[in-house]
Symmetry: C2
Subunit: 305 residues, 2 copies
Amino acid sequence: MRNNMISCSAPGKIYLFGEHAVVYGETAIGCAIELRTRVRVELCDSIIIQSEIGRTGIDFEKHPYISAVVEKMSEIVPIDGVHLKVNSEIPVGSGLSSSAAVTIASIGALNKMFGCGLSLEEIAKMGHEIEIQVQGAASPTDTYVSTFGGVVTIPDRKKLKTPDCGIVIGDTGVFASTKELVANVRKLRESYPHLIEPLMIVIGGISKTAEPFFQTGDYSSIGKLMNVNQGLLDALGVNTLELSKLIYSSRGAGAFGSKSTGGGGGGCMVALAASDKCTQVAEAITGAGGKAIVTKPTEQGLRLE
Amino acid sequence: MRNNMISCSAPGKIYLFGEHAVVYGETAIGCAIELRTRVRVELCDSIIIQSEIGRTGIDFEKHPYISAVVEKMSEIVPIDGVHLKVNSEIPVGSGLSSSAAVTIASIGALNKMFGCGLSLEEIAKMGHEIEIQVQGAASPTDTYVSTFGGVVTIPDRKKLKTPDCGIVIGDTGVFASTKELVANVRKLRESYPHLIEPLMIVIGGISKTAEPFFQTGDYSSIGKLMNVNQGLLDALGVNTLELSKLIYSSRGAGAFGSKSTGGGGGGCMVALAASDKCTQVAEAITGAGGKAIVTKPTEQGLRLE
């Protein structure tokens, strides 16, 4: 028996540690956050994709990820008509893996609706393939964390204890191309390998050093290590004045620590903060010119709503 | 024959690379700048020390450095009466080695006035002893660079070619205790030696990597390395929002590169910039809330005025 309507959601993701260094095989730590993208699926006569940016059919320009999902799922089961309606709390293009979340939520909803029986592992894998198809290149981390939730080491995929505290996102509102930033870091590393390679290793070392602090709930030490990591991101040239303002303001307001997340060069920063400090951290970020969102880590990845 | 009046000057100093790491034996690069402290000495009936902060006799509270100089020089030659008048372009307590400059200029002037015949090496050494006496601890670098001028590697004291370009100082106006900052870095290093020791080594490596660029006049590469160094200072926890604003603004205005100088935690930043870009870099720093001073590297250390 098929349901007429299915709704699934998948979370966004931040890097608590290790972006950029992860490109060179170093350990990073990703964390699913309680900002979710919801995809509601209803049977209908044709393919309709509806989101904030409009209502289309299969449309690889406007809805590339969902179009690719429908195409890919059609290889498993015939999909004649379905109405996918997207609703997202995750700011787009700011390094919070909004594309992974919409992809995973869409696969999950169609998987359920059409009884395809894909496992979570298979959903994560398909999500990664779709990201590669749409973007040309993609880390498997985003789709993995969005599918499984929680705090995850990369590339080992060890699940760490989810911190029981708040996360405040600060969005600079500045668009930055991750591709370009990764290329700039590569250039710097090629110019000064004897300087930059050791920095990458130290970033990986920070992730490994932080691991036990998740198990013991030592958020203060996690925060201090985030700050060290942030300095190294600055050394790699992916920090900006706008990010720096939000980062320092959040620390001044009592965050355990803060850093940019993802490619940098704009986009978002994240602050780890005690739950009762989140409001003041958010206010400080707003005061420094950012758009603040209070959220928290979540253990829940893809889920039925 | 004695002159009735002698005037000497000595320059301030910035770190182009390597502060903090130099504490752990890593290479740093100091640079004398064309901001000078002038000390005029006249024979008179008693000891008079006159500066911006007032007119005193031997006074270890108000004029500790000059008082110590007069005391020390009196061990070599009887000094019954002398009027020392200080005039300085170097902001006090902002990491530009104002105390070394006033100490060296005072020793130099008395040395000349009373024909003591101290060599420059001896003057630098006495200056260092006086800094230790007054401060409890002091690096020999400040007094060395103020005495000999130019761009100098530390601890090797190799003289590099003086850059033919401008330096813009940005003063945050925030006082910070170098002693406290050095202690904080030490604490961080003791908490995470496997992370922080490699960073110190990379900072030393940056200085060594920069050395040949001074010889070839590749200011663009020197600037890029200053930016990497700045990120590592941020990682060590000695950066602040105020410094960051001035640093990023100076880069935005076309500086080759910029970083904090000295202890950090406030104080000054320095930007290396083409001579014809100095005005716009200075304006950017002013616009970002700092006090800007346009200056340049100087080969001249202690000199007779």
